[in-house]
C-alpha cells in the first residue's frame, strides 16, 4: 500500500507537496540566474532596472567561454567512463569478494573524498611536475578520476548489495558463463546504480575547481576555473548567460529524449 501511489490516501498529497516544494527549491536559483542573464544590472540587482542581451553578446565575443565549456565536457565524459569502469570492478570485489580486509579496502577507497581537495591538488601537482603530466589531458583526467571514484564505488556497491546474487547463479546454472551472467544479468539489475555513478562522476569533474586550477594550462582551461576567476574579479552576468545557455541546451536535450521515447513506445 505504501508503494502504491493510488492507495496512499492523504499521504499521496503530502508526498506530492514535498516533491513540489523541493522542485521549486531546486528551480529557484536557476530561474534567478536565467533572469539575471537578461537583466541590465552588472551588480545583480533584482528586479533589474532594464532588460538586455548584452551579456550574451559579450559571451559570444569571447571564445574562451565556449572553449572552456567544451574542455569541461570532454574531461567530464572521459572521467565518467573510467570512473564507472574502475568503480564497477572495485565494487564487485568489495561486495562479492571473499578476501580478508574488505572493510579496510572500502575505507581506503573513501579517503580521496575525505581529504580536502587542496591537499590532493598540491600533492598531485608536485608529483606531476616530476612526471611531466602537468597541463596534459591525461593528468587532468587522472586527478578527477581520483576524486570521482569514491562516488562511483559508493553508489555501485550500494546497488550491488541490494541485488540478489542468486539471480546471477541461476543464469549460470542455465548455462551462461560467469562473465555472460555478469554482463547480461547483473549489470541490467544494477543499472540504476551505474546510472547514478555515471552522473555523479561526470558532475564531480564538471564542477570541480580546486584540482582544475592546479591541473590547468593555457590550452586546458575548464569552465569552473573560468567561472571562478570571473566571479571573483568581475561578477559579470556573462556567467549567468553561460549558465542559461547550458540550461536551455539541457532542457532541449531532455525534451528531445522524451519525444523520442514516446515515439518508440507508441
Amino acid at each position: 500500500m505504501l508503494l502504491d501511489f493510488n492507495k496512499l490516501g492523504a499521504w499521496k498529497w503530502a508526498l506530492s507537496a514535498i516533491c513540489a516544494v523541493m522542485s521549486l527549491f531546486l528551480l529557484l536559483p536557476i530561474l534567478f540566474i536565467v533572469a539575471l542573464s537578461f537583466g541590465s544590472s552588472r551588480w545583480l540587482i533584482f528586479p533589474p532596472p532594464g532588460w538586455t542581451l548584452k551579456w550574451y553578446e559579450e559571451l559570444f565575443a569571447d571564445p574562451r567561454w565556449i572553449g572552456a565549456a567544451l574542455t569541461s565536457a570532454k574531461i567530464g565524459v572521459i572521467v565518467m567512463v573510467i570512473s564507472v569502469a574502475l568503480g564497477l570492478l572495485a565494487s564487485l570485489a568489495l561486495v562479492r569478494g571473499t578476501f580478508r580486509g574488505r572493510e579496510v579496502l572500502r575505507a581506503f577507497f573513501l579517503t580521496p573524498m575525505v581529504l580536502p581537495v587542496v591537499i590532493v591538488a598540491v600533492a598531485l601537482y608536485a608529483a606531476f611536475l616530476r612526471l611531466g603530466l602537468n597541463g596534459t589531458l591525461v593528468g587532468f583526467v587522472i586527478a578527477h578520476v581520483i576524486v570521482a571514484l569514491p562516488f562511483a564505488i559508493i553508489t555501485i556497491t550500494g546497488a550491488l548489495e541490494t541485488f540478489d546474487p542468486a539471480i546471477e547463479d541461476a543464469a549460470i546454472l542455465c548455462g551462461a558463463s560467469p562473465w555472460e551472467a555478469r554482463l547480461r544479468v547483473t549489470l541490467p539489475g544494477i543499472r540504476h546504480g551505474l546510472f547514478s555513478a555515471a552522473i555523479f562522476s561526470f558532475l564531480i569533474s564538471w564542477d570541480e575547481v580546486v584540482l582544475a586550477i592546479f591541473m590547468a594550462s593555457p590550452s586546458l582551461q575548464t569552465l569552473p576555473v573560468k567561472v571562478w576567476t570571473t566571479l571573483r574579479q568581475d561578477l559579470t552576468p556573462v556567467i549567468a548567460a553561460a549558465s542559461t545557455l547550458l540550461v536551455a541546451l539541457t532542457v532541449l536535450l531532455m525534451i528531445a529524449a522524451a519525444v523520442l521515447r514516446k515515439g518508440k513506445s507508441e
Binding site: 523541493m22 536557476i30 580521496p112 562516488f151 560467469p178
Partner: protein
C-alpha cells in the same frame, strides 16, 4: 555456501586491482609525501600537531566542520526520503518532470548556484523582500552568514547525492512486502517506520555517507553563505596551503581530519555490525 557469482579463481581482490593501483600511484604516494611535511616543516618534530591540538580555534573549527556536516546530512535525508519515495511510485509523467528538475539543478555551475543563493538570501534579497511584501515579516530575516545560509546552500547541492541512491533502493523493494504488512494489520505509520525505512536503509546509508563526507571537505559554499563564524576546516587548510604556503600546518590539519573521519567510519561499521548480529 558456494556461489557461482563469486569470482571463480582467487578471492575477487583482482577486480579491485585497477582502482588500487591507480590510487596507490597517483593518490597515496603523492599525498604521503605531502603529509610527511607536517612533521618536517618548519623543522623535524610534532610542533604542527601540538599547535593544532593546543589551539582553541582549531578545536572550534573541527567542531563546526562535523556539526555542519551532520546538520546538512540530517536535513538532506529528511527531504530526500519522501522525495525518492514519491519518485519511485508516482505516475511516470510526473516523476520524469521532477527527475528532470533534479538533473537540471546539478548541471548549473556550483559556484554560480552558490552566488545566486547568496544574492537571493541577502537581507535586501528577493526572498526577504517577498516575505515582507506578503506581510509574513516586518524585519528582514538573517539568512546568510549563519548556519541557515550554509544549510540551505549545502542541502541544495547535496540533495541529488541522496535522492538518486535512495530512489534506486526503493524502486527495488517488492510492494508485496508492504501489502503483507497491511494484511497483518500494520497501520501506515507502522508500515513506514518498521518496513519501508528499514528496507531503504542501504540507500540512506550510502547517500548519507557521501553527503556527510563530502560536506566535511567543502569550503566554497560555507565560506560564501556561512560567514566566518561557521568556518570549516577545509577553508583553514586551503588558507594554510594556498595563501600562507605553510604546507606543514595544512598537512597536519588534513591528516587529523582524515584520522577522525576514518575513526568515525570504523565506529559506524562496528555499530552496524552489532545491530545486524542482534
Amino acid at each position: 555456501m558456494f556461489s557461482a557469482a563469486a569470482p571463480r579463481r582467487g578471492s575477487g581482490l583482482g577486480f579491485a586491482m585497477p582502482a588500487i593501483l591507480l590510487l596507490a600511484a597517483f593518490f597515496v604516494i603523492p599525498v604521503v609525501f605531502l603529509l610527511t611535511r607536517s612533521v618536517t616543516e618548519p623543522q623535524l618534530g610534532l610542533q604542527n600537531y601540538a599547535a593544532l591540538v593546543g589551539s582553541s580555534t582549531y578545536a572550534k573549527v573541527f567542531f563546526n566542520t562535523f556539526f555542519v556536516a551532520g546538520v546538512v546530512t540530517l536535513v538532506t535525508v529528511l527531504i530526500a526520503f519522501p522525495v525518492a519515495w514519491a519518485l519511485a511510485i508516482m505516475p511516470a509523467r510526473w516523476s520524469a518532470v521532477v527527475f528532470a528538475i533534479i538533473l537540471l539543478s546539478m548541471w548549473t555551475n556550483l559556484l554560480a548556484r552558490t552566488y545566486a543563493w547568496m544574492v537571493l538570501l541577502q537581507q535586501t534579497g528577493l526572498i526577504n523582500r517577498m516575505l515582507k511584501a506578503i506581510g509574513l515579516i516586518d524585519q528582514p530575516l538573517q539568512l546568510t552568514n549563519n548556519l541557515v545560509g550554509v544549510t540551505i546552500g549545502m542541502v541544495y547541492i547535496m540533495l541529488p547525492f541522496m535522492i538518486l541512491p535512495l530512489l534506486g533502493v526503493i524502486k527495488k523493494i517488492d510492494p508485496a512486502i508492504l501489502q503483507a504488512a497491511a494484511l497483518c494489520g500494520a497501520t501506515k505509520w507502522q508500515a513506514l517506520t518498521r518496513v519501508l525505512v528499514p528496507l531503504a536503509t542501504p540507500g540512506i546509508a550510502s547517500g548519507a555517507l557521501m553527503v556527510f563526507v563530502m560536506s566535511l571537505g567543502y569550503f566554497v559554499t560555507p565560506s560564501l553563505l556561512g560567514g566566518t563564524a561557521n568556518m570549516m576546516l577545509a577553508e583553514l587548510i586551503a588558507q594554510q596551503v594556498q595563501s600562507l604556503v605553510n604546507w606543514g600546518m595544512g598537512g597536519a590539519a588534513a591528516f587529523l581530519l582524515l584520522l577522525v573521519t576514518l575513526g568515525l567510519y570504523a565506529v559506524q561499521l562496528r555499530f552496524l555490525d552489532r545491530k545486524e548480529a542482534a
